[in-house]
Amino acid sequence: MEMYRQVFLLDRERMVTAMSTKMKRTGFILACLIPGLALFSLFRIYPTLQIFHKSFFMWSAIGDEPKFIGFKNFVDMFQDEVFLLSLRNTGILMLIVPVLTLAIALINASILSKSKLRESGFYRTVFFFPSILSFVVIAILWSFIYHPSIGFLNASMELIGLDEFVMPWLGHEKTVLWALAVTMVWQAAGYYMVMYIAGIDGISPEYYEAASLDGASRIQQFFSITIPMLWEIIRVTIIFIINGVISISFILVSIMTAGGPNRHSEVAITYLYGQAFKNGNFGYAMAIGVVVFIISLLLALLSNRLTEREAS
C-alpha cells in the first residue's frame, strides 16, 4: 500500500513537471517572438494598413485634417491620363524585364556551370558585379553610356558605321523604356544567374551523364533536365523580379529621365512620389500605392498559379 502510494505520487509529480516544462517552453518561445512581431507590426503592418486607410482621404499632410472622400481617389485615378500612362509604362517594364533577365540568367548559368570553360570563375564575377553596385551608381553610369554626344553607345555605333541609327536614347518617346529595360536587365541578370548556378550545382550529374549517353544534345539537356529540376527556384525568382522591377524602376527613372520625355518613362511609383512630395497630395498618392500593391499581389498569385500547373 505504501509502495502503491509512492508510485502514484511519483507519477503525479512527473505529470506536473512535464506540464510546467511545456508551459515554460511556450512562454519562452512567445518571449522570443514578441519583440520581432512587435517591430514587424509597428513598421510593416501598421503603415500598410495606414496606406489603405488614408487612401480614402484628401490630405496634404501639412496642417489640414484629412478629409474623407470615399472612393473618389480611385475613381479619379482611372480618369487621370498621366496615371494610366505611368501604369502602362510599368506594365511594359514588368513584361520585358523579367522575361529577358530570367532567360539571360538561365542561359548564362547553364553555360557557366556545364561547360568546362577555364575562365568561368572570371565570368561569374563579372556578371555578378552589377549586383553589388548601388542603383544610384548604375543609373548615373548608364545615363553617361546613353549620353547622346559623348556616350559610349552612340560613339561605338558611329565607330562601326551605324551612324544613321544613332539617337538620344533617353530623350525619345519610343526608345526610352527600352533603354531603361536594358539597364535593369544588366543590373539583375547576374544576381539571378548566381541563384541558378547554385540550383544547377544541386542537380545530380548522373542525369546529365545518362542523357548524354543516350545521345541528348546540350540544348535538349537544358530543356529536359535543367529547367524542370530548377522549376521551384524559377518560380520564386519570377516573384522576386516582378517586385524588383517596381522598386528599381523608381530609382532609375528618377535619376536617368525624370519621367521624361513628356512622361513617356513615368512609372507608377515615380508618379506616386510626385503626387505626394511635389504636389502635396498624400491621399491620392496612397490610393496609387494601394493599386500598385494590389496589382503586384495579383501578379505574384497569378504567376504562382500558372507555373504550378505546368509543374505538375
Binding site: K24, G27, F28, A31, I34, P35, L39, M58, S60, A61, I62, G63, D64, K67, I69, D76, D80, S143, Y146, H147, P148, S149, P168, W169, L170, G171, H172, E173, T257, A258, G259, G260, P261, N262, R263, G274, Q275, F277, K278, N279, G280, N281, G283, Y284
Partner: protein, 471 residues
C-alpha cells in the same frame, strides 16, 4: 528556471526601452536642444549670458534653412553675429538640402521651428502652399513697418514691388506673409568671349536671335540648348515672352488657368518659338531632350550651343565644369518680339517665414529685422555670394560676387524689365501639378512628336479641368 525567466524579461525590457528611446527622440526632436536626427545639425551656444541689450522671455531660437547653392556658411556667420549683438540668445540652425522632408513631420505635429528659409518651387512648394492654405504663418507687416538701422521703415529698403507681389502677400489682402531673401535673375546666357572676338551683336529681338543660327553654324555650334530632362527651365523664356506679347493680362490668364489662353495669338506666338527651334536645322543642339541640367550646361560651356537659359546662380553652379578656351559668362536676358521693347528677364525671390505656431515669435521677428541690416547683407554676399532683395545690395556686395553677376543685377536695376510670377495654387487635393502639365509636353514638341495645335488643345483641356476643381 525562474532566474532565466527574469533574464528574458530583463532583456525584453532593456530592448524595448532602447527602442522607446529611439522613437521618443524621433517624435520629439523639435524640443529644446535635442539634436536633429539628420541634416548636419549645429548647436552654437552663447558664451556670454549676462550682457546688456534686449531681453526676451525665451532666449532660444530654432532656425530651419534650405541648404542649396548658397550653402550654410552665411547662416552660421549671421547667427554668431546676432548672438554677439544680443547676448544671452541662442540660435540653433538646422540646414539640409532635404529640409522639406525634415520640416513636414514637425509641422504636422504642430511643432514647427521659429524661423524658416525656403526657396520657391520643387519639393519646398507644397510646404509653402500648405502654409498659405492653412493660414499657418505669422503676419509680418509690423516687421516691415518698424524702423531699420537707418531710421526709416524696413519696407523702404526692400526692392520696390517685392513686398506687394503675389509671392510675398499671397492672399492679395495686404498681409505680408513672406519676407524676401536673395533674388535671382533668369534668362538666356551666351559666351561673351565668342561674341566679343567675332564681333557678333547680341540679339535684341527674336528675329535677330534666329538670324544668328547661321553664325552659330559657322562657329561649329547649335543655336540653342536647354536642360532637356527638366523642361521647366524654359519658363525663364516663356514667362517674359508672354508678358512681351500679351502684357499682364495674358500673363494672368496663363497663371490663373484661363483656358482661352491656349487659343490666343499670344500662345501661338510664344510657344511657336519652340516649334521653330525644333524644326529649324541646327537650331536645337543634338540630343538636348535626353540631357539633364548638368550635362546640357556642360555642353553649353564646351561651346556646343550658342545660348542656354539659366539663372544668376549659373557661374557658381558650374564653377568646376570644363569649358572651351576663353569662355566668359554673358547674360542676354530674353529677346523681345518687337524692336521697340526692351530685353527682359525673369526674377525670383526666396522666402523667409515665421510659422504661426512658432514657440518664440518675438525673437524670430527680431532675427528677421537683423537679416536686413547692412552687416547681414554684406555677410550674405561674402558667404553665400548672393544678392538680397534690398535696394543697393549689388553695390554692397560687389567685392564678393563676380563681375558677371554684378553686371546682371545692375542691368535689372537699370532698366531691364524684371518679371515675377507663379501659378495660382490649384484647388486642394488637385492632382494637377501646373508646372509639369505646362512644361513637360515641350519635350515632345522639341522631338517633333507633338504639334503646336495638339499641345494647345491638350492644355486647354487641362486648364478647363483645373478650373472645375475649384468649384
Amino acid at each position: 528556471m525562474k532566474r532565466s525567466w527574469l533574464t528574458v524579461i530583463a532583456v525584453v525590457f532593456v530592448v524595448s526601452s532602447v527602442l522607446a528611446g529611439c522613437s521618443g527622440n524621433n517624435v520629439n526632436n523639435g524640443g529644446n536642444a535635442s539634436p536633429e536626427p539628420s541634416g548636419s545639425p549645429e548647436t552654437t551656444a552663447s558664451a556670454d549670458p549676462t550682457g546688456g541689450g534686449k531681453t526676451f522671455e525665451n532666449m532660444e531660437l530654432e532656425v530651419a534653412v534650405f541648404q542649396g547653392g548658397y550653402g550654410r556658411e552665411y547662416w552660421d556667420a549671421v547667427a554668431d553675429s546676432f548672438m554677439k549683438d544680443y547676448p544671452g540668445t541662442k540660435i540653433n540652425i538646422t540646414a539640409s538640402p532635404q529640409i522639406a522632408e525634415l520640416l513636414r513631420p514637425k509641422i504636422v505635429a504642430g511643432n514647427p521651428p521659429d524661423f524658416i528659409y525656403l526657396p520657391q518651387g520643387g519639393d519646398n512648394q507644397p510646404i509653402i502652399d500648405g502654409f498659405i492654405k492653412d493660414n499657418g504663418l505669422l503676419e509680418l507687416n509690423d516687421v516691415f513697418e518698424s524702423q531699420g538701422e537707418n531710421g526709416t521703415p524696413i519696407a523702404d529698403s526692400i526692392l520696390p514691388g517685392v513686398l506687394e507681389s503675389k509671392a510675398m502677400s499671397p492672399n492679395g489682402d495686404g498681409k505680408v506673409l513672406f519676407a524676401p531673401y536673395n533674388y535671382g535673375v533668369m534668362g538666356m546666357w551666351y559666351n561673351k568671349n565668342l561674341f566679343d572676338t567675332k564681333g557678333i551683336t547680341l540679339p535684341k529681338t527674336w528675329d535677330e536671335f534666329f538670324a544668328l543660327n547661321s553664325v552659330a553654324k559657322e562657329n561649329g555650334r547649335a543655336l540653342f540648348t536647354y536642360q532637356g530632362l527638366h523642361p521647366g527651365y524654359l519658363e525663364e523664356i516663356i514667362i517674359p515672352a508672354i508678358f512681351n506679347v500679351g502684357g499682364k493680362e495674358a500673363l494672368d490668364q496663363f497663371f490663373n488657368y484661363d483656358p482661352e489662353f491656349w487659343k490666343s495669338e499670344t500662345f501661338k506666338k510664344v510657344f511657336g518659338l519652340f516649334e521653330k527651334i525644333a524644326n529649324e536645322d541646327n537650331a536645337l543642339m543634338n540630343g538636348t531632350v535626353a540631357l539633364n541640367h548638368t550635362q546640357s550646361q556642360t555642353d553649353f560651356l564646351m561651346g556646343k550651343s550658342m545660348f542656354i537659359p539659366n539663372g544668376s546662380w549659373f557661374e557658381d553652379e558650374m564653377k568646376d565644369a570644363p569649358r572651351e578656351d576663353g569662355f566668359q559668362f554673358g547674360f542676354l536676358g530674353v529677346p523681345s518680339f518687337d524692336a521697340g521693347k526692351p530685353v527682359m528677364a525673369l526674377t525670383s525671390v526666396e522666402l523667409f517665414m515665421i510659422p504661426a505656431k512658432a514657440k518664440n515669435p518675438e525673437l524670430a521677428k527680431e532675427f528677421l529685422k537683423y537679416l536686413y541690416t547692412e552687416k547681414s547683407v554684406k555677410l550674405n554676399g561674402e558667404k553665400a555670394k548672393a544678392v538680397m532683395a534690398v535696394k543697393g545690395a549689388p553695390d554692397l556686395v560687389k567685392e564678393y560676387i563676380s563681375a558677371t553677376t554684378y553686371e546682371i543685377f545692375k542691368a535689372v536695376d537699370g532698366g531691364m524689365e524684371a518679371l515675377n510670377g507663379a501659378f495660382k495654387t490649384p484647388a486642394q487635393g488637385s492632382k494637377f501639378n501646373p508646372g509639369d502639365e505646362v512644361y513637360q509636353p515641350l519635350s515632345s514638341i522639341m522631338n517633333k512628336q507633338m504639334t503646336l495645335e495638339e499641345y494647345g488643345d491638350k492644355l486647354y483641356e487641362v486648364y478647363t479641368n483645373i478650373q472645375k476643381e475649384y468649384q
